[in-house]
């Protein structure tokens, strides 16, 4: 992708910088399959992504399920090994680290998962859940762990005295998600991937969690990648957003600008899918599945494209759209 939104993407001292990241999965590549002469199928979950996130920034990533958002997030925290490209963390290349370097990186980069019901071990009390990362990283002094756990719970606004000895099944989804966030910040990381942290929560609770993420990012200087399928929630905590489709970014930009004037047909579609609380608003539903080539009615790129390669267009300052014809 030449002509990339390069200028906009480089910043003075980014926390996370990703270049040309690719993650492919090989399916059906077992011993038996290869003996039967079946060729393995390759799923291109992430297929060339550039991204920079700075200190105290919440960067939004939207796309439908299967677009590769979670894979990207998991690759960034090194739960998956990237196939190609590079990830650097505070200037250090972490793409292929292992062993103790990886363990250090695990302290710096954390992840919050979508499912607050599955992400806490039902056998462990809140205290044990939140202290787990400390134990893993060899904080052996019990009192020290206690202080840090209480501090983390304070940060997520969960009264520690009340909840330390409770078990996950006694907690509502919102509280569970707060506990999961406490676990993620207890090691004082600098980068957090929040993978759909509110999509399984009630609307009445979502706002509280979003706001918590925003505040933590500000207070702790955290770089946050906020992943969501719902472009409406992104708007409330992210200044910048990228839209992902089939493993690639198709649109980048300032959140309000992208929402006000979406450029790529896929972004338009994503926005058209958001229901409105206002019964009077008549939104038009787009019925068919989006066509990546953009022959979808959504307009925008009806002219022919003279470029050979996929490329970016700066449609207005700080707003980039990938050519939908590629």
């Amino acid at each position: 992708m030449d002509d990339g939104p390069g200028g906009w993407l480089t910043m003075a001292s980014p926390v996370v910088e990703v270049q040309g990241l690719v993650k492919h999965f090989t399916l059906g590549g077992g011993v038996v399959a290869s003996m039967l002469g079946r060729s393995p199928r390759v799923v291109k979950a992430v297929d060339g992504v550039d991204l920079t996130i700075g200190r105290s920034e919440v960067f939004g990533l939207v796309g439908e399920s299967g677009s590769g958002k979670s894979t990207l997030g998991m690759t960034l925290v090194k739960l998956y090994q990237p196939t190609e490209g590079s990830i650097s963390f505070r200037g250090r290349d972490v793409t292929r680290i292992a062993g103790s370097a990886l363990k250090t990186y695990r302290k710096d980069a954390q992840i919050i998962f979508q499912d607050p019901y599955g992400s806490l071990n039902p056998r462990l009390s809140v205290a044990q859940v939140v202290e787990e990362p400390l134990r893993i990283h060899g904080v052996s002094d019990d009192a020290e762990r206690g202080t840090k756990v209480v501090e983390a719970l304070d940060r997520v606004r969960v009264p520690a005295a009340e909840y330390l000895d409770r078990y996950p099944h006694e907690l509502s989804g919102g509280l569970r998600q707060r506990i999961a966030i406490a676990r993620a910040i207890v090691l004082e990381p600098e980068f957090i991937v929040a993978d759909e942290p509110v999509s399984m929560l009630d609307v009445s609770i979502q706002a509280g969690i979003l706001e918590l993420l925003e505040r933590l990012s500000r207070e702790l200087g955290l770089a946050v990648l906020y992943v969501s399928h719902d472009i409406a929630t992104v708007r409330y905590i992210c200044d910048r957003v990228a839209v992902m489709y089939l493993g690639r970014f198709v649109e980048y930009g300032d959140t309000e600008t992208v929402i006000a004037r979406p450029g790529h047909p896929y972004t338009k579609r994503l926005m058209a899918a958001v229901p409105s609380v206002d019964p009077a608003s008549q939104r038009t539903r787009v019925d068919a599945h989006p066509d990546p080539s953009g022959s979808d009615t959504a307009g925008a790129a009806t002219e022919t494209c003279t470029h050979e390669e996929p490329h970016w267009e700066e449609v207005e300052p700080e707003h980039y759209v990938a050519c939908p014809l590629h």
Partner: protein, 356 residues
């Protein structure tokens, strides 16, 4: 009068069965739990006229699924149920097992949150749908299969995918297949419990579009249970908002959501993220549902309501009519306009409403 067996009429095309009416009155459901008696539903009245769609909204644990299960008589054996659930005039709660079996497939159909569990992973989807048709209606396999094809077309999945296994479907397709299955028997009332909650927004949009189209085209009655008021805003004519086992506000969707009279409804509206218009503040409703083992006296929302008074904590507000068909259970309907303005400001909700 007991429900008449309708199996003989089933060879008719899908749209032939008449929509049904539902009237729930004084419904109370108690679960027996270790610590005592949990009043999950505590006096609920609902009305769905033939062909009408009603959205039942509220946050997790408010009892909305319990209402749905009571209507279908799917509650656990030891649950205590009171009240009436009149389906075309017959009380579901007092039906025999045989009557129940008849109405369950012909008058009532259920689409649940967990589409994964509704489909058996080891059989082809088409076989599963055809199987349920053959089991309940007087059709042979070929006719049943043809009906299944018709249904797949209705929910927008190519017919040849009937030969697929559930794992070969995406989440949204699976959800639509479950809808097809629920519709396979022409039930007059469709009860959908969080049919789209597990789906992403594009899938949700497609599934809702299908449900809505089917409901309108086949003029089915429908109850949609969800925590998402925007889904209701777009899909249902009427809405009932539930809180802690009771209905707090109900009426025509447009009226309830445009001019809510109950502070809880106002809170739900403000908590909802939107892409329309200017970015406004998102305001969550602090606090939790009250303990249903020992519900508080007075207004159940009082512990979280920014406008609560001593009067609220003592006297239970009744549902009163605030507009045509629009009911609200708040003591101060005349101050609703002022409440709406104040509820739109975050500071209103963050001052401790006292006694939390």
């Amino acid at each position: 009068m007991p429900a008449q067996p309708t199996a003989t009429a089933s060879a008719a095309p899908i749209s032939d069965r008449p929509p049904v009416s539902l009237r729930v009155s004084g419904l109370r459901v108690g679960y027996r739990v270790e610590q005592g008696h949990l009043r999950a539903v505590d006096g609920v009245d609902l009305e769905v006229n033939p062909g009408e769609s009603l959205g039942l909204v509220g946050e997790s644990g408010c009892g909305k699924s319990t209402v749905g299960k009571a209507i279908l008589r799917l509650l656990p054996e030891d649950a205590r149920v009171e009240g009436r659930v009149l389906l075309d005039g017959d009380d579901v709660l007092r039906m025999s097992a045989r009557q129940l079996r008849q109405i369950r497939w012909t008058k009532l159909a259920l689409v649940t949150q967990s589409a994964m569990n509704a489909l058996d992973p080891v059989y082809r989807i088409g076989d599963q749908i055809a199987e349920s048709i053959v089991a309940h209606e007087d059709l042979d396999r070929r006719q049943a299969w043809r009906r299944a094809e018709e249904l797949f077309t209705l929910v927008g999945i190519p017919q040849e995918r009937l030969r697929d296994y559930p794992h070969q479907f995406s989440g949204g397709m699976r959800q639509r297949a479950v809808i097809a299955m629920a519709l396979s028997l022409n039930a007059g009332l469709l009860l959908a419990d969080e049919p789209t909650t597990a789906l992403d927004s594009i899938m949700q949009d497609q599934v809702l579009a299908q449900i809505q189209r089917l409901q309108r085209e086949l003029s089915r009655s429908m109850i949609l249970v969800t925590h998402d008021i925007a889904v209701v805003a777009e899909t249902c004519e009427k809405v009932a908002v539930m809180y802690a086992g009771r209905i707090t506000e109900s009426g025509p969707t447009a009226a309830v959501l445009a001019t809510p009279y109950h502070p809880y409804t106002m809170g739900l509206r403000n908590a909802f993220p939107t892409i329309d218009g200017d970015r406004r503040e998102l305001i969550s409703i602090p606090g939790n549902l009250p303990n249903l083992l020992d519900p508080p006296t007075g207004c159940r929302f009082a512990s979280r309501c920014p406008f609560s008074t001593d009067h609220c904590r003592e006297v239970d507000p009744p549902l009163i009519e605030v507009g045509p068909g629009h009911l609200s259970a708040c003591h101060y309907p005349d101050q609703a306009a002022a409440f709406r303005d104040r509820a739109a400001q975050r500071s209103t909700w963050t001052t401790d409403p006292g006694g939390g």
